[in-house]
C-alpha cells in the first residue's frame, strides 16, 4: 500500500503542439480509489501510463509512497496494470498468465501455486486455470487480467478502461465486483475511464481532465453539487446539466423572455468579465410553474423510463434566439404526469439549485 503523487507531471509527445498531460498535480491517499475521467484525448490514459513507467515524464515528478519513480522502469515500481484489451499472453494458460510476474520475481513454485489458486478462487476462475485465453469468454478474460494484477499484491493497481470491452450488462456487474474487490484488498487504485457513470459509482474521488489539464478532483458528490467550471458541470451527470448563457440584468440572468434570479453580489462577480453569465441547472432541479411565470419552453421529445420521464424542450418565446448554447433544456419529471410533445410549459428552477459561472472564464462563482 502506498500513496501516489503527481507533482507538476508533464508529458509532451514528440512533434506535438501542446502537452498531452500539462503540469498534473494530484495526491492520492493510501488505499484510495481514484478515477481519472474525461473525453478521449484528455490525457487520462497518458497520466496512468506515466505512473506505470510506460510513458516518459518530460517535466515534474511522479512518486509512489516516498519514492521518486519518475525515471524508474516499470518493473521497479511495484505496480500491476490491467489493460483495456487485457493483453493476456496467448501461449500461456490462465494459471501461467497469472503467475508470470511472480515467476519473474523468483518466487518459489509452491508459493506461486498457492497465490494463483487463491486469486482464482476470489475471481471464480478455479475451473479455468489450465485453459488458454482463447478458450475463455470476454468476461473471463477480463477476470484473468484482474487476477494477474492481484496475485502480485502490488503497492498500486492501475486500470486502463478495464470494462470498456464488455457488453453493457456485464459491465455493470463487473463494475460492482471490481469496486468490492479493491475495497476488500485495500490497495491504492488509479482507474481510467471515459464513462462518467463508471467514474461516479466507483471512485472515492474523481479527477476530471480535459486537454491534458486537471479540471477538478473531488468526491463524486462534490463534483455533482459544486462543479468548478462549465466543463465539469456539463461532463458530470446524465442527462447533462442544462447550461445557458445570457446577459446579466437587474436581479438576475436573462434567459429568453425570463429572468433567472441570482443574488446581487454573486451576479456582479460573475458578470465582471463581459457582462454575460452562464447558468446551469440540472434536469431534476426544474419544476413546472404557472403560465407566464418562468422560462417558456416547448416540449419536443418525451423519454419514458418508467421510474422517471425526461422532457427534451426548446426555449420558446421572445428572445429565445439570443441565448447562447441554444441546445435542449432537459427536465426530469414524474412519469405519470409527464407533458406530451408539442406542449408549451413554463419552468422554474428550485431555489439554491442554480449554478453560476463567469461566461468569460467559465469558472464557477459562488
Amino acid at each position: 500500500m502506498a500513496t501516489v503523487t503527481f507533482d507538476q507531471a508533464t508529458r509532451i509527445y514528440p512533434r506535438a503542439e501542446r502537452p498531452a498531460v500539462d503540469a498534473l498535480d494530484l495526491a492520492i491517499a493510501d488505499g484510495e480509489f481514484l478515477v481519472l475521467v474525461g473525453p478521449s484525448g484528455c490525457g487520462k490514459s497518458t497520466s496512468l501510463r506515466m505512473l506505470a513507467g510506460l510513458e516518459e515524464v518530460d517535466a515534474g515528478a511522479v512518486r509512489i509512497g516516498e519514492r521518486d519513480v519518475t525515471d524508474a522502469p516499470p518493473k521497479d515500481r511495484d505496480i500491476a496494470m490491467v489493460f483495456q484489451n487485457y493483453a493476456l499472453y496467448p501461449h500461456m494458460t490462465v494459471g501461467e498468465n497469472m503467475g508470470f510476474a511472480l515467476k519473474l520475481a523468483g518466487v518459489r513454485k509452491s508459493e506461486i501455486a498457492t497465490r494463483v489458486t487463491e486469486a482464482a478462487k476470489i475471481l471464480d476462475l478455479s475451473d479455468y486455470l489450465e485453459r488458454r485465453p482463447k478458450a475463455l469468454s470476454g468476461g473471463q478474460r477480463q477476470r484473468v487480467a484482474m487476477g494477474r494484477a492481484i496475485v502480485r499484491s502490488p503497492q498500486v493497481f492501475l486500470m486502463d478502461e478495464p470494462l470498456s470491452n464488455l457488453d453493457a450488462k456485464l459491465r455493470v456487474q463487473t463494475r460492482t465486483q471490481i469496486a468490492a474487490l479493491v475495497q476488500r484488498l485495500g490497495t491504492t487504485t488509479v482507474y481510467v475511464t471515459h464513462d462518467q457513470v463508471e467514474a461516479m459509482t466507483m471512485g472515492d474521488r474523481v479527477a476530471v481532465l480535459k486537454d491534458g489539464v486537471l479540471q477538478q478532483c473531488d468526491t463524486p458528490g462534490a463534483l455533482y453539487d459544486r462543479p468548478a467550471n462549465v466543463f465539469v458541470a456539463g461532463f458530470i451527470g446524465s442527462p447533462a446539466m442544462n447550461l445557458v448563457t445570457g446577459d446579466a440584468v437587474d436581479g438576475g440572468v436573462r434567459v429568453g423572455s425570463a429572468v433567472l434570479p441570482v443574488p446581487r453580489d454573486q451576479l456582479d462577480r460573475a458578470a465582471a468579465g463581459n457582462g454575460r453569465v452562464t447558468v446551469g441547472f440540472r434536469p431534476e432541479s426544474m419544476h413546472q410553474v404557472g403560465p407566464g411565470e418562468g422560462i417558456p419552453v416547448l416540449v419536443t421529445v418525451v423519454e419514458q423510463l418508467g421510474s422517471d420521464a425526461y422532457l427534451y424542450t426548446k426555449l420558446a418565446g421572445e428572445g429565445a434566439d439570443d441565448v447562447l448554447h441554444p441546445s435542449d433544456v432537459v427536465v426530469r419529471t414524474d412519469p405519470r404526469t409527464a407533458a406530451t410533445a408539442g406542449q408549451q410549459l413554463w419552468l422554474g428552477v428550485r431555489e439554491g439549485a442554480l449554478h453560476v459561472f463567469d461566461a468569460s472564464t467559465s469558472q464557477r462563482v459562488d
Binding site: 518493473k75 483495456q84 508470470f100 485465453p133
Partner: protein, 301 residues
C-alpha cells in the same frame, strides 16, 4: 536440384482476421464447403507440385534411351536402387548430405534467430536512426550476390577457409529479407500492450523476447526457417566456388555426378532423390509449427 512448391505459405502466416473473412464472404465463403471447381483446381495444383518429385523417381529408374523413348515410361522400377548405389560410388553423397545438413542447418538456425531479434527491434523498440537502419538493411537486398563473389573469395582465401564449411555458412548467416519479413510480421501480429504487460510484470527486454515475442512469432519463424533451409540447401553458385568435390555440399556433389561424355541422367536423378529426402523431412517437421490463430485470446478486438 530439389524444388518444392509451397502453395499458400505466405498467406498462412498472416494473423487470422475472422471478421475480414466474413466480410469477404461471397459464394460458399461462409458455409465452409468448397465447390467442385475448387476441388478440381486443388487436385490439379497438387499433381503439378508432386509431379517433379515423381518424375525424379521415374527417371532415376530408367536409362537415357528409355526416357527419351516415345511414349516415355510412367512407372518407376527397382533399377533405382541400383542407380542409387552407383551414385553413392561416383560421388561422396553421404558426406555431401551430412555437409549440407550442417550448412543449411547452421544457416537456418542463425538466420531465424538473428532475423527475429532484428525484426523485433525494428518493429517494436524505439531507438535513434531506426528508419534509416531499416532502409539500409532492406537496401542490401538490391545488391546482386554475384558482385560480391570475388572480394568474398579473396577474404575467405585470406582466412584460409577455402574448402571448409564455415566459408559457405558465415556469409549467409543473416538475411535482409528475413529481417524485413520478421519485422512485417511482428508489427501487426504482436500488440504493444503485450510487451507493456511484460514490462509491468517485471520482464527485461531479453526475457520479453524469449517468453513473449518468440512464442508469438513461431509461425513466421517456421516459414522463414523453411524458406532459408530450402535456399541454403539449393545454394550452388557460392558453394561450388568455395568448396571442392572432396568436401562438397549436396548440390556440389550432384554437379560431379554422371558426368561423362554423355551425362547419365538416371544416376543424376537417383542422386537428386537422395539429396531431396532431408528437405522433405525438414518440411514435414516445420509445417507443424505454422498454426493459425496463435494470437487468439491475447487482446480483445
Amino acid at each position: 536440384m530439389a524444388t518444392i512448391a509451397l502453395p499458400g505459405t505466405e498467406t498462412a502466416v498472416q494473423p487470422v482476421d475472422v471478421a475480414a473473412r466474413h466480410r469477404r464472404g461471397g459464394r460458399g465463403g461462409t458455409s465452409g464447403k468448397a465447390g467442385p471447381v475448387t476441388y478440381v483446381l486443388l487436385v490439379v495444383s497438387a499433381i503439378l507440385s508432386i509431379f517433379p518429385l515423381y518424375w525424379t523417381i521415374v527417371a532415376g529408374s530408367h536409362t537415357n534411351a528409355e526416357i527419351a523413348g516415345s511414349p516415355p515410361p510412367f512407372l518407376p522400377n527397382a533399377t533405382i536402387v541400383e542407380n542409387i548405389k552407383l551414385a553413392l560410388e561416383q560421388a561422396p553423397i553421404g558426406k555431401a548430405i551430412l555437409n549440407s545438413i550442417i550448412v543449411a542447418g547452421s544457416i537456418t538456425v542463425g538466420t531465424v534467430l538473428c532475423c527475429t531479434l532484428a525484426g523485433f527491434a525494428f518493429a517494436k523498440l524505439q531507438f535513434r536512426g531506426r528508419g534509416l537502419l531499416l532502409s539500409l538493411v532492406v537496401g542490401t537486398m538490391m545488391v546482386p550476390v554475384q558482385l560480391g563473389v570475388i572480394p568474398l573469395f579473396m577474404l575467405i582465401a585470406q582466412l584460409e577457409w577455402v574448402n571448409q564449411l564455415q566459408a559457405v555458412i558465415l556469409p549467409t548467416r543473416v538475411s535482409a529479407f528475413g529481417v524485413f519479413f520478421m519485422r512485417q510480421y511482428l508489427v501487426s501480429a504482436l500488440p504493444n500492450e503485450l510487451l507493456e504487460a511484460g514490462r509491468v510484470d517485471g520482464a527485461s527486454t531479453i526475457r520479453i523476447f524469449w517468453s513473449i515475442v518468440v512464442p508469438v512469432a513461431r509461425p513466421a519463424m517456421a516459414v522463414l526457417a523453411m524458406l532459408t533451409f530450402l535456399t541454403a540447401w539449393n545454394e550452388f553458385f557460392w558453394p561450388i566456388i568455395a568448396l571442392t568435390e572432396s568436401n562438397p555440399t549436396v548440390q556440389v556433389a550432384l554437379a560431379g555426378l554422371g558426368s561423362g561424355y554423355v551425362p547419365q541422367r538416371a544416376i543424376i536423378m537417383a542422386g537428386t532423390l537422395l539429396g531431396t529426402l532431408p528437405v522433405l523431412i525438414v518440411f514435414a517437421f516445420l509445417g507443424k509449427q505454422i498454426v493459425g490463430g496463435i494470437m487468439q485470446g491475447a487482446v480483445k478486438g
